[in-house]
């Protein structure tokens, strides 16, 4: 108890500190920005020592930065880290800080030397350079390999920003507290704020300045860290599992992945605590708490080590890069094309269905190849695994086919999934996505992964840096993935000229980095590109710099993601000089990989995860399943909602989409679920207006009826009537709807109930909405105009009471209707008398006229929606 109180005090205190630190960071970043503007500025000379490559590297981060505008602002990034994975943003933050620090000779030298035991002894100049990567690498080396594998308390990297040390542990602690206390709840905003706050700090030690890499870093960390941290599992649970999938076989995987993600966070936290203030009692306490929560996670943990290094898949591309080092000069001979490229082109063309597609595809390929030869990646790229996805966006119709194809080319597909998000810098999702996706594909990828692991170390050994060896996994996994992602994005035609060029820049950077580290080559072209890069960076800096400063407080898992998405959008627009509406959303659309037919509906609070999204062919099966299932409406509704969600997320708008919405609308009508029906109707309206065919007339009729019964104002009704085509007016359902409208408008109950009886399709379900009202109006009218009495048999017939048993014999029908009618009349205050002369029940009209009333609906509930009744809710689950 006491501990917690103290801890909370500290928590507050440290939060304050953190904010201060953030500010510091921001300032630094701003300085950084100014610094980076001038490409000719000292860095060029200072850093271009034997390892001029490092320049590239450092710029690399900048260059890529703008294109990932959303995360561009280090300060803004801090608020984004909702979940462990998201910590990357802060890392970015730190990255800048680190970088900045590294630029100051004193600090930097201290940093590098002291923090990283093995820092680049062979590259003396690199000390001063000490741009993001080296620092990062060294730190990570410490953090990950040492801490996690040996689980030893290491001294904190002394050089790196001492100011961070204090806040970091404390925050970690608070966060962990929060986490532990909130297990079972989902991302409580405030709590996460703290958690988020702490993340940057932690990660700063372990993370590189390269923000791309950070993402993957996390992943790699996770992979390596699984064992030591059973404690984090529960927390993981809380935060990460995006959609508890009911399906059995996927679940474990997902869980793993989420666990992994979280683990990295926890791990870094723990690492922090161990590292920095091992003696701090609060921390130990916290750790204890965390661990106590943890046991659940123990199982998944153990399995983690075997987790596929999806990262390592990306490693492939890194390998390629290495090869690019070797054949760097190859760019000078554009006449030669590697056979793999030829195969790639063939593959791409094979996907095209017709000539038009082929033409597009060819243009596109030309662009890719030109680009590749320009930035020197023509030979470095592994064309065998180069994704074909960009084509898919063009070949809209071949979607499912493409998916199938991509699944076959396992690595390609994974990459593609990621790449969808990566280009935008949506790293949170990316991490998550990639983890999930990869984990789900574990088996497929296993082979390639192993390969990667085997190969990647070699590459780094080339650099002959001892510390790097420790880092192998990290770097191989992170770097390549980033690169892979970008490559993937590049081929997307949608990003537009500017975007594409920026990508190629980044690619170039990376290539440059690799090249430079060995060859120290720097072409004039590269210089020029770097200049443009830095300019871009400058711009985005201006944009995001001031904004981010206020951000750190408003974090929350979901909101931060959304915010990131928004910022992403804005920054994309900013960077490319486009208006928001000019952004090509196709390039941001994900493609699902989930093969489950059944899926629970959860409202998305963040960007969707491709591994939980079903592609169209699976959705078709899902729809068929829903249509044939004997289960109740609640189940169907949920399944349909999840189908709709998946469609929306993947931006599938075709006949199938219409079919789904129509199915759902009909089912909703049948079940009287107006809210759901209305949603579907609204969507259908849009879909039909796009020219997608479906049961247009039927739903036009429904919407007319709905408008009539909802007392929509005259103007809207008129305009929708005016919009009816002549063909539509000939349709049975539409004609019926118009007749109903007319009957309602004139109060003609006779024709209304006749139409009710003859209602086509589902119209009668909609008319049910108005029956009660119509009956009441009718009885009111009757009691005013008929004298002295009115036989109930007539009323029952006129008011549609007898309609139900029309099939049966005449007598039965009449008697059935009579009883219902009598009961209805009585509940509405009508005076029914028995007329002995005719042996009939009669409505005493004069008396009834005064006593009629509309009773309160029986199923009325305080919150207004009977569908939300508790019992319903309970039966649902």
């Amino acid at each position: 108890m006491g501990h917690t109180i103290i801890a909370k005090c500290f928590q507050l205190f440290h939060q304050a500190i953190i904010y201060m630190v953030m500010d510091l960071q921001i300032i630094k970043v701003v300085i950084m920005a100014t610094f980076s503007k001038a490409s000719t500025y000292p860095p060029a000379s200072v850093y271009s020592g034997p390892t001029g490559a490092w320049n590239n590297q450092s710029y690399n981060s900048y260059g890529s930065y703008p294109s990932y505008g959303g995360y561009s602002a280090p300060n803004s990034s801090s608020n984004l880290n909702a979940v462990s994975a998201q910590s990357q943003y802060q890392q970015e933050c730190q990255q800048w800080a680190d970088y900045y620090a590294s630029l100051e000779p004193k600090v930097q030298s201290a940093t590098v030397t002291s923090s990283a035991p093995g820092t680049e002894p062979d590259i003396p100049s690199a000390v001063s350079l000490c741009t993001s990567t080296p620092t990062y690498a060294s730190v990570v080396a410490q953090g990950t390999s040492n801490n996690f594998y040996s689980a030893v308390n290491q001294p904190p990297p002394p050089g790196t920003q001492p100011s961070w040390q204090v806040p970091a542990p404390s925050h970690f602690e608070t966060a962990s507290q929060h986490l532990s206390s909130t297990t079972g709840t989902i991302n409580n905003g405030s709590q996460w704020d703290t958690a988020l706050m702490q993340l940057p700090v932690n990660d700063s030690y372990g993370q590189s300045s390269e923000h791309f890499q950070q993402v993957q870093n996390n992943n790699s960390l996770q992979q390596e860290q699984q064992d030591p941290l059973p404690s984090s599992q529960q927390d993981t649970h809380v935060t990460h599992i995006p959609e508890p999938s009911p399906s059995d076989h996927q679940k474990p995987l997902k869980f793993h992945s989420s666990v992994q993600q979280f683990t990295s966070l926890e791990a870094s936290k723990q690492r922090m605590s161990k590292l920095q203030i091992p003696t701090n009692p609060r921390i130990t306490q916290n750790l204890g708490v965390v661990i106590s929560n943890g046991p659940k996670g123990a199982l998944p943990d153990s399995s983690k080590p075997q987790k596929p290094a999806y990262i390592s898949i990306r490693g492939k591309s890194s390998i390629n890069k290495v090869s690019s080092d070797d054949i760097a000069d190859a760019t000078l001979q554009p006449g030669m094309f590697p056979p793999s490229l030829r195969a790639y082109v063939e593959r791409a063309l094979a996907l095209c269905k017709d000539d038009a597609q082929k033409a597009v595809c060819q243009d596109y390929l030309k662009e890719i190849i030109t680009q590749a030869s320009c930035d020197g990646s023509l030979f470095s790229k592994d064309w065998d695994i180069e994704p074909l996805y960009a084509l898919s966006s063009m070949l809209a119709k071949g979607i499912s086919k493409q998916v199938a194809a991509s699944v076959k080319l396992d690595s390609v597909s994974t990459r593609r999934v990621k790449s969808r998000w990566e280009p935008v810098g949506e790293k949170l999702e990316d991490i998550k996505d990639s983890i999930d996706a990869d984990s789900s594909k574990t088996e497929v990828l296993e082979g390639s992964k192993g390969q990667e692991f085997a190969v990647s170390p070699k590459k780094w050994e080339k650099q002959e840096t001892t510390w790097i060896n420790q880092q192998q996994h990290h770097i191989t996994s992170t770097k390549p993935s980033k690169r892979g992602g970008q490559k993937i994005k590049k081929p997307d035609p949608g990003t537009g000229g500017v975007g594409t060029s920026s990508e190629s820049d980044t690619d170039l950077d990376q290539g440059g980095f690799h090249l430079g580290s060995l060859l120290t080559t720097e072409t004039p072209e590269e210089k020029r590109k770097r200049q443009t890069r830095t300019k871009r960076f400058e711009r985005s800096k201006e944009y995001s710099g001031p904004k981010g400063s206020t951000k750190p407080k408003l974090q929350g898992n979901a909101s931060s993601r959304r915010a990131s998405a928004i910022r992403l959008v804005m920054s994309v627009g900013d960077v490319n000089g486009q208006a928001v509406e000019d952004i090509n959303w196709d390039s941001l659309t994900i493609r699902g990989t989930c093969q489950e037919i059944e899926k629970r509906y959860l409202r998305l609070t963040s960007a969707p995860d491709p591994s939980t999204v079903r592609p169209e062919d699976v959705l078709r099966k899902a729809l068929a399943m829903v249509q044939s299932t004997p289960k109740n409406y609640l189940y169907k509704c949920e399944q349909l909602k999840s189908i709709r969600q998946d469609l929306t997320v993947q931006r599938i708008r075709n006949e199938f989409t219409v079919q789904v919405y129509e199915t759902h609308a009909r089912m909703a009508l049948e079940a009287g679920d107006l809210a759901e029906y209305n949603q579907c109707q609204a969507q259908l309206k849009g879909l039909y207006s796009e020219g997608i065919s479906g049961s247009y007339n039927e739903f036009t009729a429904y919407s007319l009826l709905y408008m009539v019964f909802q007392n929509v104002n005259n103007r809207d009704l008129l305009s929708s009537m005016a919009r009816l085509s002549h063909a539509a007016r000939q349709d049975e359902a539409v004609r019926h709807a118009l007749a109903v409208r007319s009957a309602v408008a004139t109060g003609n109950y006779t024709s209304f109930f006749r139409l009710y009886r003859t209602a086509p399709k589902m119209s009668s379900f909609l008319m049910d909405l108005h029956v009660e009202r119509m009956r009441f109006e009718a009885v009111k009218c009757m009691s005013r105009s008929y004298r002295p009495t009115l036989p109930l048999s007539f009323m029952a017939r006129t008011l549609g009471f007898s309609s139900l048993s029309l099939v049966n014999g005449l007598d039965e029908k009449e008697s059935d209707g009579l009883e219902d009618c009598e009961e209805w009349l009585k509940t509405h205050g009508a005076q029914v008398v028995y007329e002995s002369s005719t042996n009939e029940l009669m409505l005493e009209t004069k008396m009834s006229a005064a006593t009629l009333f509309m009773p309160e609906p029986e199923d009325v509930v305080p919150h207004g929606d009977a569908n939300l009744a508790v019992n319903d809710f309970l039966t649902r689950s």
Binding site: S719, T746, G747, C781, R784, S785, P791
Partner: protein, 445 residues
């Protein structure tokens, strides 16, 4: 007859701004001199700027308005556009205005708009005009008197018309049109600048009317409400003090709104006001008013003379009116069906549709009269079979139950006084005033 009242109404001149624009001395050269050298272009532009300066310094709102007009027939648009192309440093020339009022930027935007307009790039023109209008409004706010009202109105008018053109252009280019919406929000700003107390209020109604036009076009009529409230609740300014043309337009639009709300009494009042004050020479305007006034009057039980419908080319109502006179359901249905699209678009369909009950009433009345001739003692009892037969003569085939329902509704809605006996299938009419006057009844239920 209300149609005749129109003749007696006071003939108020609805001023058309653009028709009565005073001609600047050098207007004459505008047309013929489209191709001239750079020097001459500069001179022309300078002349234009000087006219603007003069209008500003003499506070001549009308001249300023004519100088700023874009789409009207004799605007300076063409001249300025060509001069702008050829002149050296046109901005410098335009900036001379700044000596008199800080409108240099405004004028440069305005001339840019003229230029784009001349080249039929309406979206660009609109964007430039919007900037220009914002700057002008800012300056206008600072002027104490309302001398520049006419110029402001010109800008408002041009902004709205250009927005429509820009929207059309955007649609043609496959974009989502939003310029008219933007114009609407700017007009709202202008309205805010005018609607307060003070001399500028007199111009508020014009802007209101322009706003109505925007909102009706956009289909966002609900936005009219706030503007209407601001006009009608203000006690500081008598409605009659607004210019007649604005009052007519305002009443026309608010009358239409009342039609949508099924408030026929209110609609009649407003539309009658508009008709009375609308100059009879403005035949299209009169027709537009009548287009809504006729159905409203019909539903209140007043039938127009046929010559009125002929005169204003409102033939679509001819058969409707005839059907009402004769009690001919079939004719009414036919008339409604024939003009369905037009009625739906203008929004009077639902009003006309409800006339059916009046036609039934007329039919009942006729039957009643005939029965009275035959047998006065039992005339108030109309048998169902008689009604059904009468309807079948009109080619309307309905069974007894349906007719019964219609009779019940007629009685219920007070079109007919009396009751219905289900047992003997007879409509028993009240002996006193079985067919009460309709005035004001139509909107009950």
């Amino acid at each position: 007859m209300w149609a005749r009242e129109r003749e007696e109404r006071e003939r108020e001149m609805a001023l058309d701004r653009r028709d009565s624009v005073s001609s600047a001395p050098w207007r004459g050269n505008a047309a013929g001199s489209l191709f001239f050298g750079a020097a001459e272009a500069s001179r022309k532009l300078a002349e234009y700027v000087n006219s603007v300066i003069e209008a500003l310094s003499t506070q001549n709102g009308r001249t300023l308005a004519s100088l700023l007009a874009i789409s009207s027939a004799n605007s300076f648009c063409e001249l300025v556009a060509s001069a702008l192309e050829l002149a050296k440093e046109p901005i410098k020339i335009l900036k001379q205005v700044d000596k008199h009022a800080p409108l240099g930027d405004m004028l440069s935007n305005h001339t840019k708009c003229m230029h784009s307009y001349q080249q039929r790039r309406y979206v660009e023109a609109f964007n430039a005009l919007e900037k220009s209008a914002n700057m002008f409004l800012q300056e206008f706010r600072s002027w104490e008197s309302a001398w520049a009202m006419e110029a402001l109105h010109t800008i408002v008018y041009e902004l709205r018309t250009l927005a429509q053109m820009a929207d059309r252009e955007m649609v043609a280019n496959g974009k989502i049109p939003d310029k008219l919406k933007g114009a609407g929000s700017f007009l709202m700003k202008v309205f805010g600048a005018l609607a307060g107390k003070g001399p500028k209020r007199v111009g508020a109604l014009y802007v209101t009317c322009q706003l109505f036009k925007v909102y009706f076009k956009l289909g966002t009529v609900h936005l009219c409400r706030s503007v209407i409230r601001s006009i009608e609740t203000a006690r500081v300014f008598d409605f009659e003090e607004f210019p007649a043309r604005d009052r007519v337009t305002y009443m026309y639009y608010t009358g239409r709104l009342e039609v949508f709300n099924d408030n026929f009494m209110g609609a009649e009042k407003k539309l009658m006001y508009a008709l009375r004050h609308c100059h009879s020479s403005k035949r299209t305007n009169v027709r537009m008013i009548l287009k809504y006034l006729v159905p409203v009057k019909l539903s209140l039980g007043t039938l127009p003379k046929e010559w009125l419908l002929q005169k204003y080319n409102l033939r679509e109502y001819l058969n409707v009116v005839r059907a009402l006179r004769r009690g001919d359901i079939k004719l009414l249905r036919h008339a409604l069906h024939a003009n369905e699209d037009g009625f739906l678009r203008s929004g009077v369909y639902l009003v006309l549709e409800k006339l059916e009950q009046q036609v039934y009433r007329r039919l009942m009345k006729k039957i009643h009269i005939i029965q009275k001739l035959k047998d006065p003692a039992r005339a108030h009892q109309i048998k169902m079979e008689v009604i059904v037969k009468a309807l079948s003569w009109l080619d309307i085939n309905m069974d007894v139950e349906e007719v019964e329902c219609i009779m019940a509704i007629l009685i219920h809605k007070n079109y007919i006084k009396g009751y219905f006996s289900h047992k003997s299938k007879v409509v028993v009419l009240s002996k006193q005033d079985p067919f009460p006057k309709l005035n004001g009844r139509a909107n009950i239920l």
